[in-house]
Symmetry: C2
Subunit: 273 residues, 2 copies
């Protein structure tokens, strides 16, 4: 899905919600556990219940890899089931030397129908650029993550710039990709950073995790985070997909997603035309 289509979908659906599909076998509703592929059945019902509320889905690879070899099949089925009307992000945090990153890019962009993949920047340019060589596909580069450990290295001040590492990552990576194939991860748990983020990357889309279970506040990140094209994809996973663990889990997931969508609709109204 290209940038114009994504922006079109955001304003049509009045939503910049991304739903994280991070299924944990222990937290699935009991009545699904008899299904052939309980995780796929769970995802399918969540997707059916939320399609019109969101513009993106983001399966996190860890939750599929931890299912063993079958998990990879479940992931592929899930991505195919989502189809072409949503941006599908592989939350994979990959990144390796050039010839190896190329293989990862093939895995997610050629063999599976993902539109985007999250990448860790530690290994630098040649670990990122192989993913940018696929037409219509996106790199979502970690900049300032939502977790406590983001302070350990991302927050270190650099001699060369006088600013923190994460700012340098955002600035430097813009030499490799464009607004059409590069987004950044900025955690909702750092609302104070969004003004600075928009100084450094005014036009790029940001993928914002940390709303919901991690405690980030939607209004706080939108104050400076929204740009003319919206420019945000706000992810929520656990607060939606585990809104209930009963037979009504899909309905409750829809309620949670609609509640976020309705807040987003109000925020999108404030964007100057």
């Amino acid at each position: 899905m290209d940038r114009q289509t994504l922006i079109g979908e955001i304003f049509r659906k009045k939503s910049f919600l991304c739903i994280g599909l991070d299924p944990e076998p222990d937290r699935l509703p009991v009545h699904l556990k008899e299904a052939d592929d309980p995780v796929f059945e769970f995802n399918k019902q969540i997707i059916d219940a939320t399609r019109d509320t969101c513009v993106a889905y983001k399966p996190n690879l860890a939750f599929y890899e931890s299912l063993g070899p079958g998990g990879w099949l479940t992931l592929e089925k899930t991505a195919k089931y989502i189809g072409n009307d949503h941006l599908i992000i592989a939350d994979a945090k990959r990144g390796d030397i050039g010839n190896t990153s190329r293989k990862y890019a093939e895995a997610f962009f050629k063999h599976m129908p993902f539109d985007a993949i999250t990448i860790a920047p530690y290994m630098g340019e040649d670990s990122v650029t192989p993913f940018l060589e696929f037409d219509g596909k996106w790199v979502v580069l970690l900049a300032l993550t939502s977790n406590k450990g983001s302070a350990d290295f991302q927050g270190e001040t650099l001699d060369s710039t006088g600013g923190p590492l994460w700012e340098h990552v955002m600035r430097h990576a813009q030499k490799w990709g464009t607004r059409d194939n590069l987004m950044f991860v900025v955690g909702a748990t750092h609302p104070e950073a969004f003004r600075r983020v928009r100084e450094i990357a005014p036009v790029h889309f940001l993928l914002v995790p940390g709303v919901g279970a991690q405690g980030g506040d939607l209004n706080a990140i939108c104050r400076h985070g929204l740009n003319r094209d919206c420019g945000l994809l706000v992810n929520a996973a656990r607060s939606i997909i585990y809104a209930s663990q009963g037979p009504d889990f899909a309905d409750k997931a829809r309620e949670e997603a609609l509640s976020l969508q309705s807040s987003m609709q109000a925020l999108l109204k404030d964007i100057p035309k």
Copy 2:
């Protein structure tokens, strides 16, 4: 495999060679392409031909993920085929928020028989420590990688320490793990860094990629890299596994591995008892 066993194996086999199992379908010998699972057959013959020459195998996940869902089965079969007498490193470059890193750890340490996994440090402490909670398992943390892009961020000088980021990563991570469950990746393409590496981490094992196809020199890294327990695992992949693409590929792989092993034997002799 624990540290004492690993050291024992190194001195018994007179080798600190790690063989990278990074199979590319296009580069497999033609006569294997008819096999049920050509990549597994390739790995199996490489392993059979090199078991006594090396102490570790390191499959890089990208080469299995790019095979599609079946690749994960091939990876699992390969790890099981290696067995318990070698350290098995999942070269996966993972790392995510705490609850997610835990899932990755389960994938590699519970569901598959890996002893160690490579981790990217960008997301900090809570992205790394879940992997350290598994008895007898190892984190191999990226410090100074072998690729050109390692200069982009790893080499940035920090205000707080006056040294480069990679040194800070090595120093800081030693608060999270010990010599018994934490190694560092230091690329053979930076021979000049090994003296400094050993000042910062005198006792930890280092996983050293970049010898062979990437041009690193074994003697140069050993000058300062070896410690009393050896302390090095030197990885070679392409130069061994693609030494020939003919029917003699396993024999040629063995020759290459033995040649490295023999250089290592000479270097190990110089370690003071």
